[in-house]
């Protein structure tokens, strides 16, 4: 055994792995930070390279070509599906202890660079999350860490990547705990915080300590705070429209029988055509967001609303048709324009009221959309605070984020990232019933001490079996081929037990229950438990290939459940 591959066995870490996780978090944070910087630099280069051609008539082809190349790269070279990847990370964390393929550590970086760099409406954050998480997962795999430690490192990768790309360590940490892991545990929080700080530090060292959107002082009055509630409702409505547009577009495109690259190219071409009239909607759109915040977006309310609507359309066409990228940056863009449009509408309606500048509402709108679409209010609050470098809008930010995410939850109970997983029953958050049951296998619960009997067995022959059995259920099997025929319950026999003259007259085939509900050895335990509850049964026979393999009882299941819950909730 190579000792360096098993650091958890080193004397230093054997009894408490917190120091090990902190050391690993630094490594993962550095790698995730470098991945984020690589994508950032690559995007700047590609955008710079193509900038000179944007004014030409054929420029609309560029997003089409980028999306097609991105799709071809994912499908033909790295053999991965399209999409932003965050649900994949959440799925892997909730179901497989954070196991993620090594190729995911670079695949989305390249594909999203092609999509966004060419003008597709998407963001680089989700691909960076995928990359950072895959880095964390594969470092854990290299060092043979267990599931819990691996999940922590996946979180470290996410936090490091978000911290680096936004220069926002707290947002990285909060996003990881709120969205990716879905739990706040003392064991995870320290390494994840360290990874977030490390990733951010790497970014600052290599790119400078730049705030994404320069900070301005806003004088917020009580009326502005009251107006925030209305903005939050608008943000919730737009979040739901955005979520449904993206999902609806993906569903409709999925049924088209066309090559994936062609679909992506078609979506990209439509985005390119939109971009001819409204170039602001192309790419990640940070430059336009900056204009919205600083009040340099001079066009009127109608144009602002049109840009907002077209950004939603462009994002749906980019991501829904097979381009690669995330929804973080488009959400920020859309949020800033919701805020901007809202402030202008307020000014039109009540021109005498001295509303705070539209830049402030743009910031609040960004938090509202992030909180609404991700249903992660803390991420929305801390992200905006960090990327603008100021805490002076914290009160309205909190109101907008809280109201927006709550209102969204009423209409869409699951966030954009979780919707598919929830629909398929694949979201297994820590500490939940489904998660505990998912880690228990039917084989661990099988009770095989049942004595099988045959339908031709006389009652007299059965009595000695009854005497030595500890159970009150007896599977009846066909003597010739072993096929499961039914069950004899002690209650079925009890009326005849003291009627000795019937011992030679009654056979078990006359007493057995043939309409027996059974379960299979590969059935999910949550379904088995539901079946027991629905039938009001305490145990069910397990049958495979028409053969009885054992019994599963609620008592054994719940006993094992309790032990598994203790393992899963153990802190170290």
């Amino acid at each position: 055994m190579k000792l360096w591959r098993y650091p958890a066995n080193w004397h230093l870490f054997r009894y408490d792995d917190r120091l090990l996780l902190i050391c690993m978090a630094v490594v993962v944070g550095i790698c995730a930070g470098l991945a984020a910087i690589a994508l950032n630099r690559a995007l700047v280069s590609v955008l710079g390279l193509l900038h000179h051609y944007r004014h030409l008539w054929w420029a609309f082809i560029m997003p089409a070509a980028g999306a097609a190349l991105s799709s071809l790269f994912l499908e033909k070279i790295v053999n991965e599906g399209a999409g932003h990847g965050v649900p994949e990370v959440i799925y892997s964390v909730s179901r497989y202890g954070g196991l993620i393929r090594l190729r995911s550590s670079f695949s989305r970086l390249i594909s999203s660079c092609l999509t966004i760099g060419s003008g597709g409406s998407a963001g680089p954050e989700a691909p960076v999350v995928m990359s950072g998480s895959a880095i964390g997962s594969n470092i854990a795999r290299l060092f043979n860490l267990n599931d819990r430690q691996r999940v922590t490192l996946v979180g470290c990768g996410t936090a490091g990547a978000i911290g680096a790309i936004f220069n926002a360590p707290i947002a990285g940490m909060v996003f990881t705990m709120e969205v990716i892991l879905g739990e706040w545990s003392a064991v995870n929080i320290i390494p994840i915080a360290i990874a977030a700080v490390t990733g951010t530090k790497v970014s600052r060292l290599l790119q400078g300590n730049n705030i994404a959107f320069s900070h301005r002082e806003f004088q917020i009055a009580l009326g502005d705070i009251a107006a925030c509630v209305g903005l939050a409702i608008c943000c919730a409505a737009v979040s739901i429209i955005l979520t449904r547009s993206l999902r609806g577009m993906s569903r409709r495109v999925a049924v088209l029988r066309l090559p994936l690259w062609l679909k992506a190219a078609m979506g990209g071409a439509i985005v390119g055509l939109i971009g001819i009239g409204l170039p602001d909607v192309l790419g990640e759109g940070y430059h336009t967001i900056q204009h919205a915040i600083t009040g340099d977006f001079r066009a009127g309310l109608l144009v602002a609303t049109t840009v907002l609507a077209m950004k939603i359309v462009a994002t749906a066409f980019t991501l829904g048709w097979g381009g690669s990228g995330g929804i973080f940056a488009p959400s920020l863009f859309i949020g800033s324009f919701v805020g901007l449009a809202y402030q202008r509408a307020l000014t039109h309606l009540w021109p005498t009221v001295g509303w705070v500048e539209e830049g402030c509402f743009a910031l609040l709108g960004m938090a509202g959309i992030i909180s609404g679409i991700l249903q992660a209010p803390l991420t929305g609050i801390f992200l905006i605070v960090e990327i603008t470098g100021g805490y002076d809008v914290i009160v309205p930010l909190t109101i907008v984020a809280a109201v927006s995410s709550t209102a969204c939850q009423y209409v869409e109970p699951a966030s954009f990232y979780l919707k598919d997983l929830v629909d398929k029953g694949q979201l297994l958050r820590p500490g939940t019933d489904a998660r505990v049951l998912a880690d228990i296998r039917m084989g661990e619960l099988l009770e095989t001490d049942c004595i099988p009997v045959s339908p031709g067995m006389r009652l007299g022959e059965f009595i000695p079996i009854l005497e030595r059995s500890h159970r009150n259920l007896f599977p009846v099997e066909d003597g010739k081929n072993g096929r499961f025929l039914g069950i004899v319950h002690l209650d079925d026999v009890r009326p005849y037990l003291f009627k000795t003259p019937l011992y030679d007259a009654v056979v078990l085939g006359q007493l057995m229950q043939t309409q027996v509900e059974t379960v299979g050895p590969d059935d999910d335990l949550i379904d088995v438990l539901d079946k027991m509850d629905a039938l009001k049964k305490f145990s069910l026979p397990v049958v495979a290939n028409q053969r009885f393999v054992g019994m599963i009882s609620k008592a054994t299941l719940l006993d094992r459940y309790r032990r598994e819950l203790m393992v899963q909730t153990r802190t170290t």
Binding site: E80, G81, S92, Q426, N545
Partner: protein
């Protein structure tokens, strides 16, 4: 519970041979086949500390409308009862998760590379990865169906070889077929290898089920492999060394599989041998 063998069905003549081999293996040792008829060319297998994406070659999707019928006909002919796997979980659209709780898995030598499907070729990277990560042994079939009438274990004295010996003993017990052992002496003498078996508490089992233990002191491994019966199932441990050593000097398993066209049952480093 009855042990299960996982088989990915390829609806081609080569796939038919592979399924016949799997069914023969199942009949011989009393296990049940679980057959997966793929709907896309890729799937994921989540092992304990690894995830492997298997990229099948396009031939696995040949004539999907006849796949199930072809597989069922072969299963019916064998007299076995097979189950057919329908994936429940998907990591991404078109990327199903295939369970890894099986007792055996059948693979051709390569499942993602058409060029080496007929000749012995090399063991493809995906099959290697499965062997390295799986807790179950992997049955790598001969290109054409051939019944095996004996079992030959390749024993080199390592921990993996001991696992292979345990596996071979189990197969011999379950199938009732004669068991032989092949050892190419590299260090010490025959007694060294006997002692390794005795130290692992397997000597009495070997004496009970084993027929012949062949030791080769002279000649290269490739030369001596001619002594292995043409109709033997070969059982061997794999990837006991590090990657660099294997690249530098070549893996013994690779040398055996590229010389002998027999069926191979490979126990990887994660294989959890059932003792006794």
């Amino acid at each position: 519970m009855t042990p299960k063998l996982f088989h990915i069905f390829r609806n081609t003549p080569l796939g038919r041979e592979t399924l016949l081999q799997s069914l023969y293996f199942c009949r011989s040792i009393g296990c049940l086949p679980e057959i997966y008829i793929p709907e896309s060319t890729r799937f994921l297998m989540y092992f304990e500390n690894d995830v492997t994406q298997v990229d099948l070659d396009g031939s696995y999707l040949t004539a999907p409308s006849t796949s199930r019928g072809h597989a069922e006909a072969l299963v019916l002919e064998s007299g076995l009862k097979a189950t057919y796997l329908t994936p429940k979980n998907y990591t991404a659209h078109g990327l199903p998760d295939i369970p890894t709780h099986y007792d055996y898995m059948c693979c051709p030598r390569s499942i993602s590379d058409l060029s080496s499907k007929i000749g012995l070729g090399h063991i493809g990277p995906r099959v290697r990865r499965i062997v390295q990560a799986a807790r179950f042994p992997v049955l790598i079939t001969s290109p054409v169906f051939k019944a095996w009438n004996s079992i030959t274990i390749f024993f080199g004295g390592s921990q993996n070889a001991l696992n292979a010996l345990r596996l071979g003993l189990r197969i011999a017990r379950q199938s009732g077929k004669p068991l032989n052992m092949f050892t190419q002496i590299e260090k010490g003498d025959a007694e060294t290898y006997r002692k390794a078996v005795a130290d692992a508490d397997l000597l009495s089992d070997w004496e009970r089920y084993g027929a012949e233990w062949q030791f080769f002191e002279k000649g290269s491994l490739e030369e001596n492999l001619y002594a292995v019966a043409h109709d033997a199932l070969l059982v061997l441990g794999a990837y006991g060394h590090g990657l660099i050593k294997d690249i530098m000097f070549g893996s013994k398993m690779e040398r055996i599989q590229s010389t002998l066209p027999n069926n191979l049952l490979i126990a990887g480093p994660k294989y959890t041998a059932v003792k006794g």
